[in-house]
Amino acid sequence: MKSESKNLRIAIIGCGKIADQHVFAARRIGGCEVVALCDREVLMARQLGERFGVTACFADAGEMLRLAKPEVVHITTPPQGHYSLAKQCLEAGSHVYLEKPFTVTAPEAEELICLAERRGLKLTAGHNLQFTPEMLEMRRLVKLGFLGGKPVHLESHFSYGLGDASYVGPLLGNRQHWVRQLPGQLLHNILSHGLAKLCEFLDDDQVEVIASAHQSEQLRSLGGAEILDELRVLIRAASGTTAFFCFSTQIKPGRNELRICGPVNSITVDHASGSLIRHENRSYKSYLTFFAPPLVNARQHFRNAWINFKNFLTGKLHQDSGMKELVECFYQSIKNDSAPPLSYREILLTARIMDEIFAQIYKPKPPVSKPSP
């Protein structure tokens, strides 16, 4: 369904912390206008509206869809509301941007995607780290054939510090906190960023997953109850590509990286420093093998710093550039009726792997058999 209007009419459902970033992204893009805000707690919608000059504030999503008639709705509520709200928006004829995690379960994701396709509408997930400048460069190199073939192995590291008391405090102190109600708890709300990077290159819909998780000493000392925060996952696609995923609250300095190993060359993308390193399969004579590669790497690090510095000077190094790029690509796909920026296959595979991980690490303990009398 091609959008006819000049400015895309945008609405946001869920006016919590992340909603600000969505409004900022929409403002920087241009060609769109945030026309309505909705939150079950209407005061939350009003506080956002007051700061960004949006007067149409609603407590009811149905009323908002009926009166404001948005072309695109960003859903930034806790994940438990994603499925029903997205369904409501799609049924009302709006395209939907769903914050991560896309839905609570993979079957919900499948249903939404089917519904969007039936209605000729588009969906995307808030996997914004897929669209940072270094990830775009990585994708460009992969398309150019730098790897020398299909990826052989992938590694994704994702770190998350427990130091943010404003988030971790309420989460640990309240068993009813929405994060605690998710099947994967703390992991559920964060994992998809790191997993989606792997799913992009896993070319099978069915993959073998082996997950193992435990609770860190730090989380235990904070009173983390049953929450798990150290996760390792091995993934194997039927085609032979393998992947390793590591989520950690303990590794310091935090790692937020993707390494793609091809049959000829490999690439490392580091989000923390916004850099990309190419690992080229070159051989050096004798002791040069100890001198040349570090210098080649040093040159690449220098180049990364120079690119970032240039981007900073030209105002292109925003900390949320991934979100802006993703939102912009999504809006373009709506305007041009082209494929959305994230493939539905990638969104679904991410959801399925997450379901499998949580089933394995939070599986119910076998009942203790009572001795027969």
Binding site: C15, G16, K17, A19, D20, F24, R27, R28, E41, L43, M44, Q47, L48, R51, S166, G169, P170, L172, G173, N174, Q176, G223, F312, G315, K316, L317, H318
Partner: protein, 350 residues
């Protein structure tokens, strides 16, 4: 205890944020005054050792209740406000995001006021706000900042989520006062200091760039020692005839930023600091703000003219209203307060 108080010693009092820096002191002073029915509201994740030790020191502490909950939950607010005559509302979220600050300051306060009106016996709602709500952007340097001065009208531009949360909180309290006849008093403490809080006030300066930039110069600091501040808060909940009033809370004999920094360096540790005059700080903040706008937020506007004015422009402060209407007198004079503040650094474990 004064016989003119609006409540008796047996009436139930609720203190939110009672495990915090000021809240614990408020509870202590209430117990000291002989109030025997104090309910301490704490976050479920709070470590309560210090509060429990303090309660154990007073006979009235034995009958004090500790209630854990979340003020975003109406059910928890009902539990907290049930049968209460006076609420001292000190709980505050130190959130960096505007939405988070609004949620933890304004929504929680709305929930608590609703519960108080429905399930309490409302005699007084004491809302503890902050000096941060003022804007001195249009005031002359050194002008007197009192309760009649203008409030910040663009917290977003000041990039101050805490200020936004507190402004919205006050707005709601005033609305409840007008529309639902909630008897309230608002207190706006300045920079609260004392043992238990080691960080230097941002009004003195910042160490963001790896060394200490002294921005406060010879500006008077709106200091209030924690015991004095807590006493003012307690009195605001007890004195008759002050409903709907707003009080700034600062101590007598205020010292300057330079005096504060010198005392700190003398007693705690000498360190390198660079003094930057206000006109330079203001110009730098202005440049930062313009760049932030031009680059569409590539650099967040953490430094801007509104913040520069609020923190480093320099004003004089008055506690005349506090003295006259609440009969407040500082429990601790400035010299003793500074000694107590600086003494905490001596008790460092080797």
């Amino acid at each position: 205890m004064s016989p003119n108080n609006i409540i008796s010693s047996a009436d139930r009092i609720l203190v939110t944020g009672s495990n915090g820096f000021i809240g614990a002191k408020v509870v202590e002073i209430l117990l000291e005054y002989g109030f025997s029915n104090v309910r301490c509201f704490v976050r479920p994740s709070s470590k309560l050792d210090r509060l429990k030790q303090m309660l154990a020191k007073y006979p009235a502490g034995k009958t004090a209740e500790i209630v854990a909950g979340d003020l975003l939950s109406r059910e928890d607010c009902q539990k907290a406000a049930d049968g209460v005559s006076v609420i001292y509302h000190l709980a505050a979220g130190m959130e960096k995001s505007f939405a988070g600050a609004f949620m933890n300051s304004a929504l929680t306060t709305r929930n608590l006021m609703d519960a108080f009106l429905e399930h309490g016996r409302p005699a007084r709602f004491v809302n503890v706000s902050s000096f941060t709500v003022y804007s001195n952007l249009k005031m002359e340097r050194g002008a007197l900042l009192d309760e009649t001065c203008a409030l910040e009208d663009n917290a977003q531009e000041r990039f101050d989520a805490y200020c936004f949360g507190k402004l919205k909180q006050e707005e709601l309290v005033r609305q409840y006062g007008e529309k639902r006849k909630l008897p309230y008093v608002i207190l706006r403490p300045g920079a609260v200091f004392g043992p238990g809080k080691k960080a230097l006030s941002g009004r003195v300066g910042i160490d963001t760039f790896g060394f200490f930039i002294h921005l406060g110069g010879e500006n008077q600091l709106p200091l209030t020692f924690v015991d004095n501040c807590a006493d003012a808060i307690v009195l605001a909940g007890l004195k008759p005839g002050v409903d709907g009033e707003i009080f700034n809370v600062v101590d007598d004999d205020l010292i300057s930023s330079g005096e504060f920094l010198s005392a700190y360096k003398r007693k705690v540790k000498p360190f390198f600091s660079v003094r930057v005059p206000f006109f330079v700080a203001n110009a730098m903040c202005s440049l930062w703000e313009q760049y932030s706008k031009r680059s569409q937020g590539q650099l967040p506007p953490v430094f801007n003219r509104r913040r520069a004015a609020a923190e480093w422009k320099g004003n004089r402060f008055s506690n005349q209203k506090l003295h006259e209407r609440l009969g407040w007198k500082p429990r601790v004079n400035m010299e003793q307060a500074m000694n107590a503040f600086l003494a905490q650094y001596e008790s460092r474990t080797p």
